[in-house]
């Protein structure tokens, strides 16, 4: 006895309309209905952060967000950052340059949290950055180079000299 609902939302800048199973998580909807496979599943209970996306500018673990709640929302996934000709955004480039990527599985979630941090336009301390990024688990990097990538991009966007 399946139950469905039409959901209208904006995904990565595009207005969309989709019939979704009310039992679906937002992860299910983004991956299965829109093939946005940057949204990863690492625990499906909101503990690892791999499925993190931006909803109206805030970070959410899409695995514990019902797809029907996307109604009227503006959702952004990592796919939205890459330019029309494949150009990397500054934060993606920083992840590459700082060797902040290893297996790559936590990367999309991390970058989307970094986007929220950078869009705040504030200069955060290392401790503040660590706290803001603490909703993501990574087993490869020890978080070290991820911190560097976010910090360097934050300084660059604010036009400030970096002090390491």
């Amino acid at each position: 006895m399946s139950q469905y609902k039409v959901v209208h939302c904006n995904i990565n800048g595009r207005d969309v309309e989709k019939v979704v199973d009310v039992r679906a998580s937002l992860t299910d909807m983004l991956r299965n209905d829109f093939r946005l496979t940057s949204v990863k599943k690492g625990c499906e209970v909101g503990e690892c952060g791999a499925c993190n996306v931006l909803i109206d500018g805030e970070t959410f673990n899409s695995c514990i967000y019902l797809a029907i709640w996307a109604e009227g929302k503006r959702i952004r996934t990592l796919e939205s950052l890459t330019g029309p000709n494949g150009e990397l955004s500054d934060i993606q480039q920083a992840f590459l340059d700082e060797t902040a990527i290893q297996c790559g599985f936590c990367t999309p979630g991390f970058i989307m949290t970094a986007v929220e941090i950078l869009e705040a336009g504030k200069l955060y301390t290392d401790d503040e950055l660590r706290k803001l990024l603490s909703g993501h688990l990574c087993r490869c990097t020890g978080y070290e180079n991820i911190l560097r990538a976010v910090k360097k991009t934050m300084y660059r966007r604010l036009g400030k000299e970096i002090d390491f």
Binding site: H136, R139, E144, L147
Partner: protein, 770 residues
């Protein structure tokens, strides 16, 4: 000119930064059926029956299969190369599903359904009738007379006893004036926690079975699936796409055999098994919990007269990698601190816990914790600085191990310690810290390790490689060694570009995906061997391709191949460096030459018959809040001698990851089991205390680059070594800060509460005193 020794960006970095990289789950056909596993809710029992009627009646359920349906074909799972010597083959103690439940979480049935929810409901609807058996969780208790028998053919649950005798320990300890330093050291069950859970999907094509899996070892998994299903190995095709980390858990055949078999039970339709995080913790593999007993006898001059090592390695319910971990652990001692009189005994013991397998470090993080804790205790007993004590006793330059053939060519240990001490300002802090009397106490500690790069001579070391010259002068390369996140493909591209004389590592297209139908046979990612072993076959294959290229160039230039060289993608005349033609020109000509068309390619296999010592150390600085029972790592530095670095930035990143794992091992991680039932208590990422972004200081990595003489690129192990010495360095720093030696990992607040209470550092107020 040089293509190695440079911090190039990852070849797979762009795709990973854009989220385009496809992992196994991103490749599953939408029509695939969901397989969900019914895990036993008993630690030890016999399955009397499984009532499947209710499950089968759920709409969407396609098939229910139980332990009574599977073939009686025991198979091994360890990701070891096959051995032609039956005495050296892995223990085959697995079935696809089990009537004899040996741990809480064992696999007893599957539900195959059209959708995820129906599969889950089906599993919940299964009614299992058990005959309960007594269970045992502790390795030493499992060896006691009358302990529950877990596998029929292993009396006292001993999978293997590994031992050595060197000199005469009993006689040596009678030397007058010796100081005895004895301790029990214990490490917990921990899990790999790669962020991508293991999963796989299988389908049949032309009567053969294809499994696409999140694995480190596609070629080995092909063999295991063949064995488990009783099919010729060539009927199995394993495809390994990008994977979200492995750390050794995926160096085992996990659910590929079951997935392949389920596929055959539904007429070859695609089926998928996706482990949940909870399953990953319990029903994949874990790190062996090991208990050590060490007795060290010291002479008045602080040299070691004799040493006795005993260890009990908790294997869990199935053999997996079995005794190789305990053997590696116990055998590390005589080489780390060589002394003339040693006894070593390691028992690998079945218990009713999840099966322990390979995990980054393969016994060495455990051994290093015990060894380096005991060595710090020795230094304390002799009133010596811990670095000085190590300098006196650690493996000397020139040390040679006859079994592996390894030689300590340089004085790496002392160089690493000197560098680490300088970076962290050890001497000053050792002097200044350790005297605090208030609530916050500071300390600094050190620990060292050694590590073997590969598995020679215990197992086969072989590497195959294929190179194809493309029409644009680039090269496509296939390796059996796998990219699992560590950056192997990038290192391989750099090494190949160097060997071939290409302009850039970007001119080498490494086919990252291994497909056992296509990829030259390799053994996959394990030990810390990939860069080392691939180096041999890359160099050899590149030499062959270069020779073919220059031979073809001879036809066009009439110059002897010996007179030409490839430099930055251009064939040049050696004598004056004159450019003769680009590789693109040569490739196009060779391909479309109406008289002599040739697709230039090379393929070769190299049997590696050497191994290499890798060395390093950790210095850790801690601050302990006595009343809150918390130790915080304030600074931590790792120094490694892993030979020449192929890619310094990737090497540094590898070290960071290992250090992070070591901090978790030292302070917070452990998988817990209910003593009353054997049920796992914290098999999720909330209750299992993996370090978060807020639990680390900055991680500092440094290197000593002594070139490894056996490697064509001067390189040796780095993958696992960073995980080895962090925990004991932290333990030793806490000892320095507080005077309290904590010998059981993790050193979490519960352990510190007990230890500080015992040491009188905290007084535990009683209600009646209020």
């Amino acid at each position: 000119m040089n293509k190695v020794g440079i911090s190039e960006t990852r070849v797979d970095g762009y795709d990973k930064a854009t989220g385009r990289t496809k992992y196994y789950e991103d490749r599953i056909p939408s029509e695939a059926l969901y397989v969900r596993i019914k895990h036993a809710e008993r630690a030890h029992a016999l399955v009397k029956s499984v009532d499947t009627a209710a499950a089968a009646a759920i709409p969407g359920v396609v098939k229910v299969l139980t332990c009574f349906d599977v073939p009686d074909l025991p198979f091994p799972t360890a990701g070891h190369p096959w051995s032609m010597d039956p005495g050296h083959q892995d223990v085959a103690d697995r079935h696809l599903l089990n009537r004899h439940v040996r741990y809480w979480g064992d696999d007893i049935a599957v539900v195959i359904a059209e959708n995820e929810v129906a599969a889950m409901q089906g599993v919940r609807a299964l009614a299992v009738e058990y005959e309960d058996l007594p269970f045992v969780l502790d390795a030493q208790k499992a060896m006691e007379p009358g302990a529950p028998q877990i596998h029929e053919s292993f009396p006292n649950n001993i999978l293997k006893h590994t031992d050595y005798r060197k000199g005469d320990y009993q006689a040596a300890i009678r030397e007058p004036g010796l100081v005895k330093v004895e301790g029990w050291y214990e490490t917990p069950t921990v899990q790999h926690c790669h962020i991508e859970n293991h999963g796989c999907f299988a389908y049949m094509e032309n009567g053969r079975i294809t499994v696409v899996s999140s694995t480190q070892i596609p070629h080995i998994v092909r063999r295991v699936v063949g064995q488990a299903l009783g099919r010729p190995w060539a009927e199995i095709q394993i495809i390994k796409p990008y994977i979200g980390g492995g750390f050794g858990n995926k160096q085992d055949a996990l659910y590929e055999p079951l997935c392949a078999w389920c596929c055959t039970q539904v007429g070859g339709r695609p089926v998928r098994i996706d482990c949940s995080r909870e399953e990953t913790f319990v029903s994949n593999r874990v790190r062996h919990a090991i208990r050590f007993h060490i007795v060290t006898w010291l002479r008045p001059d602080a040299t070691i007269a004799a040493r006795k090592i005993e260890l009990w390695s908790n294997q869990g319910a199935y053999a997996s990698h079995g005794h190789s971990i305990a053997a590696k652990a116990v055998n590390s001692f005589p080489q780390h601190y060589p002394c003339d009189n040693m006894e070593g005994d390691a028992w690998t013991v079945y218990t009713n816990r999840p099966a322990a397998g390979a995990m980054r470090g393969y016994g060495m993080p455990q051994a290093s914790f015990a060894d380096e804790s005991n060595i710090d205790d020795c230094a304390a007993a002799m009133h010596m600085d811990p670095v000085e004590f190590r300098r006196l006793n650690i493996m000397p330059q020139g040390f040679h191990d006859n079994f592996s053939g390894n030689t300590n060519y340089y004085d790496s240990y002392r160089e690493c310690m000197a560098k680490g001490a300088e970076l962290i300002d050890y001497a000053r802090k050792r002097e200044e810290y350790g005297h605090d009397t208030g609530n916050l106490r500071r300390g600094i500690g050190v620990a060292t390790f050694w590590y073997n790069t590969g598995v020679y001579p215990i197992s086969l070391e072989t590497s195959s490689n294929r190179m194809l010259l493309n029409l644009d002068g680039t090269v496509t390369m296939q390796c059996g060694e796998t990219e699992i996140g560590q950056g192997a493909d990038t290192a391989f591209a750099q090494m190949a570009a160097e060997a071939l004389g290409l302009a850039s590592y970007r001119d080498v297209h490494v086919v990252s995906c291994q497909d056992t139908d296509i990829t030259p046979t390799g053994l996959g990612a394990y030990a810390s061997r990939q860069t080392y072993v691939a180096g041999f076959s890359i160099r050899q294959t590149a030499d062959q391709l270069k020779k073919k290229i220059l031979n073809y160039a001879q036809e066009l230039t009439l110059l002897s191949p010996d007179c030409m060289e490839i430099v930055d993608g251009v064939i040049v005349r050696k004598a004056d460096g004159a450019a003769l033609m680009t590789l693109k020109e040569l490739a196009m000509t060779a391909q479309y030459n109406p008289v002599h068309s040739e697709h230039l390619s090379a393929e070769s296999t190299y049997t590696i018959r050497s191994n290499a010592y890798s060395f390093g150390c950790t210095f850790a600085e801690v601050e302990v809040d006595i009343q809150m029972c918390k130790a915080r790592v304030k600074r931590i530095v790792n120094v490694h001698d892993c030979g020449k670095l192929i890619n310094p930035a990737l090497a540094e990143a590898q070290v960071h990851g290992g250090m992070s794992m070591a901090i978790g091992f030292g302070l917070s991680e452990q998988l817990l089991f209910d003593e009353k039932t054997g049920r796992p208590l914290n098999n999720n990422l909330l209750d299992y205390k993996l370090s978060t972004f807020m639990d680390h200081p900055n991680l500092e990595a440094a290197f000593i680059e002594n070139p490894e003489p056996t490697s064509p690129y001067g390189t040796k192990a780095l993958g696992e070594p960073p995980a080895c010495s962090g925990a004991p360095a932290i333990r030793n720093a806490i000892l320095h800060a507080t005077g309290v030696a904590v010998n059981q990992l993790p050193i979490n607040p519960h352990r510190l509460f007990a230890a500080f209470t015992e040491a009188g550092l905290i007084n535990n107020p009683r209600l009646e005193e209020v």
